[in-house]
Symmetry: C2
Subunit: 148 residues, 2 copies
């Protein structure tokens, strides 16, 4: 099992970051504009691709205001299903630090390399959203390669 790890810090409050991670408007402001509730504590994230729409459904397993958001991937690409995504928040030096983990990948496939870099750019988008009010969610996300 292999994990994707990231650490970013934003000058916004833990409450503001938590809101960006737990509300439809917040999530649509940094990850993908196509974010909707799917009932039963599941959030649906969709992306327009040249070959059609795809994306991920996340079951919200645990939330601790200002501290933690923990999802399980319940639908999406085969490599993602059953993996977990965790955002741990803490305060340090006037920053809200986000410790991010996308854990439980079965193999370090090339798609995992891509997702690791892509998560970094989306976490920078979360930082921008909470600091300036405007992130870079899909479809205007940062292009990193031929895989977008």
């Amino acid at each position: 099992m292999v994990d994707i790890l990231h650490r970013v810090g934003t000058t916004a409050s833990p409450e503001a970051v938590y809101t960006a991670l737990t509300t439809i408007d917040g999530l649509a402001g940094w990850w993908t504009e196509k974010t909707t509730e799917a009932g039963d504590d599941v959030i649906r994230f969709r992306f327009d691709r040249p070959q059609g729409e795809d994306g991920f459904d996340m079951s919200v397993l645990e939330t601790v205001p200002g501290k933690l958001v923990h999802w399980e991937v319940v639908a999406g690409p085969e490599e993602w299903v059953g993996t977990h995504v965790r955002f741990e928040l803490k305060q340090e030096d006037g920053y809200t630090v986000v410790l991010f983990r996308h854990e439980g990948w079965r193999e370090p496939v090339e798609f995992m390399y891509h997702c690791s870099t892509k998560w970094a750019t989306f976490l920078m988008s979360l930082k921008e959203l909470t600091e300036t009010g405007a992130g870079r969610p899909a479809p205007d996300d940062v292009r990193i390669s031929n895989w977008h």
Copy 2:
């Protein structure tokens, strides 16, 4: 043992990316302006920090023009020494794809989370350098948190 993985693609040629990974001018154009040769196939990378200068010395273990650059960290922070950094290059859809691995971390310490995100921003700087002629090397690198 845990690894940092990333994947970026640039519209530049494999030769141009290889040059950016194997020459002092190239490396100084995307990672840190303070890049120097230290003899015996060791390259020295330095960064100005509030507490003084620090950085990494990389021993170049293997280079295959247009294909591979492989370093071992021979001096730097304790967590880095003995780890390996690999850039594998390949062509796909008109892009030069860089598969990046910083491998051999003993523990997934918080510093590893930071370095993972920081590597993503530096690889985006490598992409920019090779596509536009201007990257974002230190000291003008992208700030991601209180740890810079």
